[in-house]
Symmetry: C2
Subunit: 297 residues, 2 copies
Amino acid sequence: LSCVGRSRLSTKPTAGPAVIERIARSVREAVDECDLDLRQVQAVGVGAPGSVNPEKGEVIFSPNLPGWEHVPLQKALTKLLDRPVRVENDCNVCTLGVYHAELKAKPRHMVGIFLGTGMGGGLILDGKLFSGFNRTAGEIGHMVLEVGGSKCGCGNRGCFEALAGRAALFRRIQCGQGRTEDALDGHVGAGSKEPAERRFAQGAQARGQTGGTIVEEAAEYTGIAVANVINLLNPEVVVLGGGMIQQLEEEMMAIIVETAQDYAMTGTWKGVEIVASELGDDAGITGAAVLAQGALG
Amino acid sequence: LSCVGRSRLSTKPTAGPAVIERIARSVREAVDECDLDLRQVQAVGVGAPGSVNPEKGEVIFSPNLPGWEHVPLQKALTKLLDRPVRVENDCNVCTLGVYHAELKAKPRHMVGIFLGTGMGGGLILDGKLFSGFNRTAGEIGHMVLEVGGSKCGCGNRGCFEALAGRAALFRRIQCGQGRTEDALDGHVGAGSKEPAERRFAQGAQARGQTGGTIVEEAAEYTGIAVANVINLLNPEVVVLGGGMIQQLEEEMMAIIVETAQDYAMTGTWKGVEIVASELGDDAGITGAAVLAQGALG
């Protein structure tokens, strides 16, 4: 798989049905960017947030897309693009990308964990995506790790996302340092084009490890979450991805692996690998291409 | 499936190879109890603690059986009993029993959670037992729910088992009441034949709800553990079993379900059932019978 063209559009989730037209526009722009014709595209793969039924090509519901309930996304896009279309949940699509393009589909069981503002996961069990009863499996961001801990956006307390997500890191640094962006910009220059996590790490370094400690803490929580998943599912490989890992791999990975080993049961841990994905932000489009290949059957 | 004879022997885990002879003796005694001949038994099913390879019929390792590493249990028992034998992990066997005998194998995905001194689990995914890479999946007792919480027998802190297991309950009541057994016996009579959990609940009641609060807390932790599993795996049914549920179902189940609902994601929760197993202590022998049926092809 190689990427020949790309285009990025904001979702504008409040736009209603126009969201689907924007997706189609983005496909046309990416095709145009690499001087191809849409008719040369054999199939289109889509990762959508929320609960997705890939057989029906339907978004069952999506907390981040108001009003999206039982939306026939596959059918609508097929009509707009006149190409075969496949849809899956976005974290599942990232997991597919990592599994097929990075791991060459070698491990039998794999868990993908994607860390950013939100935290999501995807499960490959017996070589196939596992989605569960309501097609929502992999919701690792709301695994409670600390009963009564930090308040989470979901309304509960102590969720992994609330303890170690990007928002949690920024909130903690804010407590000690005034407004986050100011705190960061004061150290690495206002208007920096660097991703927030990198600026965060640099700012932390400049301030003499306070932020470092916060990042270490996030890595420890992540290691515990990984151990919980290992103890429950005993996968062969756990792959970590998403913006936070892409930017803070060096600061976080060793701590994540060490902590996970501490908390995983000895017999369960044996031979299990925890690795960082090299795909970064491209996990999604890579997985969507894998999904599209499936459409060619 | 109906039970026609039973026999119970302690494992005596330090006895080494004699443990297998004790298992064979127990089979012979159960057969004798119902006036059958061993030659009339079509197959034998065994649930063994630890990591088990059911295809090889081998106990890979077992933390509770010193020295058990790669023990060919199936082969040894087949030789001793001259009957077809199948072995599986004990929690998996309980899960099989619940799934086939109680749920008639109807749900596609089910998680069994067994609460007692130890806490174990078993996973049925896509209608089949799921064991993972090292055949240890389902280790729910060591899921961390409270970072830095109570010390667990495994050496870590904040594990579900350390927060809500039988030992944890008894330890808490001990703190306030001197020695547990004395405290219990003081209220319900020394040498009572009632199971410890029931005496515990009765003692708690007699003392005016202190113990009740402790049981409620255990139920809340259990509900959070169940929600973590639901968010991660999105099973259709979660079945709770084991000594604690058998004895404290009335006190715990409503709280477990309510707490799990609070912590499960809305879309994930829809239609998911949480039920108490009616099999009690017989989940294991029932599942072993299901396993034995499999040996008949």
